[in-house]
Amino acid sequence: MNSHRHSKQHRVRSSALPQTRSATTEAPWVRTVLISLATGFLALFLLMPLFTVFIEAFRSGISAYFSTFEDRFIRHSIRLTLLTAAVAVPLNLVFGVAAAWAVTKFDFRGKSLLVTIIDLPFAVTPVIGGMIFILIFGAHGYLGPWLEGVNFQVVFAFPGIVLATTFGTVPFIARELIPVMQAQGRDEEYAAMTMGASGWRTFFKVTLPNVKWGLFYGVILCNARAMGEFGGVEVVSGKISGKTNTMTLQIQQLYFDYATVPAFATASLLAILALLTLLLKNIVERLSGRES
């Protein structure tokens, strides 16, 4: 997948004489129109919102921007978000590796069903991802009364936030790993086994080095998605500022309270995280493309 991202054979290099343009490219005016349409579309929908975040965040100056992060509630929301990701991402990492190993190294019935189920949280609205845990752990949920008995709060508390976040980010690491491990095939693992390596040794010394970049990007993407999770945590957290508000919920509250600069300043942190994720994706793609 990654290697042909770099093929340039189709690309038109310089403008050849019009009457001798290659049989596989378009007239210069068509190219100009298409390039304008595409870049216009991408600029309108991607660059403009991105710039807006930073413009609004710095609207009242740099000191106003930084003073945002002295706010106790915003600080708490950042801490809560980091903590949530710190639990959800490792969980999905272990799951992603196990699922990718099962799916790519073995043949079994029901495999495509399994892959579809991994995708499920991606297709389901995040709202449902929060609601399901209310149905189970909420005061009127199936386990609600029992949880109350042992005095353990899931809904409107940290465990609920972690569950909703984990649900929403289940697919990301597995979905990055499976195609990479599929492309890798099984021969190297077979070779390692014939040389008497143990399963774990084979995994850490043979499989992992081959897929490290795909895994790395999967973790980074999963992290960005975990920190940005909104619909699910909104439902399950109860939105208590300073207690159960994650960054995105804090942004929502600030925005609806017309605290525009703090809202965008907090949002800018998540935007920077998103940009770093994209940057890493590009680096990883170039690195893995060079290796193969």
């Binding site: 004489l17 290659s22 049989a23």
Partner: protein
């Protein structure tokens, strides 16, 4: 239709694919562009087709039957092109593939539907694929796909047929059959045909004329017999068939002996028992291995003294007579040798024990006419 390419140069970035190449192909001939990969043969073919264009449209010229088509796009040259990997349209049936060109004609020139259908049926018959029109390319064998590609290229009644490595993707057996079929087929339809290959057997067996290319240049043009028997450069002799190579000549009169290279084809190497009455140009060699399969046996030898390895091809009978086993020393006589001292070459036959040599000089860019 005759084809003339004049002073074609083509560079890709810093890579020189063609350097001042000129070529003329007379009407109705079957010509092969033969050379190793990177020699520029495919680039030349693609320039003839209009899929690439020469670096300069001023100095380079491509003429089809005297008409300048240098800058004409691929679709306007009246060429049929068969791609190395066939490039069939996978989502179309065989029939739609073959009819594609006719259906691409402007409405005014396009034949009626039933005319197109009749034409497609004729073409499929011509390539022995009648009845397979409804199939998809994925349901055909490699050889069948190749013939669909050919039928598709022929549908527009091309004046020139260009084939890029037409048998490259087929296995050995199919390749041989299809090769023979193409030969008779071309004789039937008599369309000027140029095909690219890196397989010397294919070029020699199939073509009326062989154009040997190397390093962005044409080395030699000639009929198969000529290029095989009278190669003009070390490259040609080395590329066409097995050849033994000796540095420093055997009694050549050239002064600059250091740079002499002497070539002998294995079948021009004669072996005699060691104690055989030797003549002036015989040398001694030790047998290394004997491979015998088929009508001929190949003997790997090592020259006594210099330890130069070389090979001889002898009949099985002779093999038995000589009773060759590894380690045995034999007398070796070269029936026919070729010497290349700096651009010139010297051809030598050994008759009655003496070297009969003749020199002639060739320019590597000799134009075929």
């Amino acid at each position: 239709m005759s084809i003339k390419a004049i002073q074609i140069s083509k560079t890709f970035g810093t890579f020189k694919a063609l350097e001042n190449v000129s070529l003329e192909v007379p009407d109705g001939k079957l010509v092969s562009l033969l050379g190793p990969s990177g020699s520029g043969k495919t680039t030349l073919l693609r320039i003839l087709a209009g899929l690439e264009f020469p670096d300069s449209l001023e100095t380079s010229r491509v003429l089809f039957h005297g008409k300048d088509v240098t800058a004409a796009p691929a679709g306007r040259r009246g060429v049929g092109f068969v791609f190395q990997h066939y490039a069939l349209f996978k989502h179309m049936t065989v029939e739609s593939n073959v009819a594609f060109g006719l259906n691409s004609l402007p409405r005014k020139e396009r034949p009626a539907k039933d005319v197109i259908l009749t034409r497609v049926c004729e073409l499929l018959q011509l390539v022995h694929l009648d009845g397979l029109g409804g199939r998809y390319p994925s349901e055909l064998s490699g050889g069948q796909r190749q013939r669909v590609a050919l039928a598709r290229a022929l549908a527009m009644n091309p004046k020139v047929l260009l084939l890029d490595e037409p048998f490259g993707a087929l296995d050995a057996k199919v390749r041989k059959d299809l090769r023979r079929w193409l030969r008779t087929f071309q004789e039937e339809i008599k369309v000027t045909t140029i095909f690219v290959t890196h397989d010397q057997d294919e070029a020699l067996e199939l073509a009326d004329e062989v154009v040997v290319m190397n390093n962005a240049r044409i080395e030699q043009v000639g009929d198969p017999q000529t290029v095989y028997d009278r190669p003009v450069s070390p490259f040609v002799i080395e590329f066409l068939g097995n050849v033994n190579r000796f540095v420093a000549g055997v009694g050549s009169e050239t002064k600059d002996r250091e740079k002499d290279v002497l070539y002998v084809r294995p079948h021009d190497v004669e072996l005699e028992p060691e104690d055989h009455e030797t003549h002036a140009y015989a040398l001694k060699a030790k047998v290394q291995h004997v491979f015998s399969a088929g009508n001929y046996g190949r003997v790997a030898l090592e020259r006594v003294g210099t330890r130069e390895p070389f090979e001889a091809e002898v009949s099985r009978e002779r093999l038995r007579e000589l009773d060759l086993v590894p380690g045995r020393v034999v007398s070796v006589i070269f029936r026919h040798v070729r010497l290349f001292p700096k651009g010139e070459f010297l051809e030598a036959d050994i008759r009655d024990g003496s070297l009969v040599a003749s020199t002639s000089s060739f320019s590597a860019k000799t134009m075929y006419s």
